[in-house]
């Protein structure tokens, strides 16, 4: 499946929708970014953005079902130096209009994850989930 760094490359993996899976999500991303020879600084940022998006699935899409056996899929694609990360889940439908980081002058904890994702990535887009998926989030970054 994989080719040389920064050429066309796609990998995906599924994970149980649990907070205990977040470490595995990070490990998967680090391994893929190693193959893509992405430099350390950017790699750390991308891993954080992906882990935050996965955390949002656990925390929000499965808020009412924390012991689910459902899985989420993380797909990392790199084509022509454009990195695209897809997230698929079968949780509660996300209303993209309600996904915002909080105001800067509001110092309550929470909402930081979305802020990090928006800071790190070039684009954040919710697409219609095609069956069996309910939510399909796509993060994009030009390398």
């Amino acid at each position: 499946m994989s080719e040389t760094a920064q050429s066309n490359h796609t990998e995906k993996k599924d994970f149980l929708v649990r907070s205990s899976s977040l470490k595995d999500v990070r490990t998967f991303c680090r391994e893929v970014f190693e193959k893509l020879q992405i430099e350390q600084n950017l790699k750390d940022e991308l891993v954080l953005a992906i882990a935050e998006a996965a955390q949002n699935i656990v925390k929000h899409a499965y808020k009412d079902d924390p012991k689910t056996d459902d899985k989420m899929v993380v797909q990392i694609s790199c084509k022509d130096n454009k990195l695209q990360i897809g997230f698929y889940d079968m949780g509660t439908p996300v209303d993209p209009n309600k996904v915002k980081h909080r105001e800067i002058d509001n110092v309550k904890p929470g909402g930081l994850g979305t802020f990090f994702i928006q800071e790190i990535m070039d684009a954040v887009e919710f697409k219609d989930g095609k069956k069996p998926w309910i939510n399909h989030l796509v993060l994009t970054k030009q390398l």
Binding site: L48, V107, P109, L112, G113, F116
Partner: protein, 94 residues
């Protein structure tokens, strides 16, 4: 994540170790907040934390806010590079 707490007079130095994410942030919260609640001056040593996400940052924000309410001192010491980067991104919230 593992941790140890050093006691120096009224000061408590919490040494956190490992990765701090949603899975372990409650453990960090339940370690730090009661120390502040009890009126201790708290330092968090982050030299051995190699990953921290928004859950960990939220614990630090809560700790800082509680220390302001309790009028006690709260500070981060020996911040590792990975944590420093995340803190820099979150600086607007701190």
């Amino acid at each position: 994540m593992s941790y140890k707490v050093d006691e120096i007079d009224n000061k408590r130095v919490v040494h956190l170790n490992g990765e701090i994410d949603m899975e372990v942030s409650d453990k960090a919260r339940n370690t730090i907040l009661p120390l502040i609640e009890a009126g201790h001056e708290v330092q968090i040593n982050l030299s051995k934390v190699d990953y921290m996400d928004s859950s960990g940052i939220s614990v630090l924000i809560e700790s800082k806010k509680l220390s302001e309410q309790k009028k006690t001192k709260f500070e981060l010491i020996e911040v590792s590079k990975p944590v420093e980067k995340v803190l820099a991104m979150a600086r607007k919230f701190l």
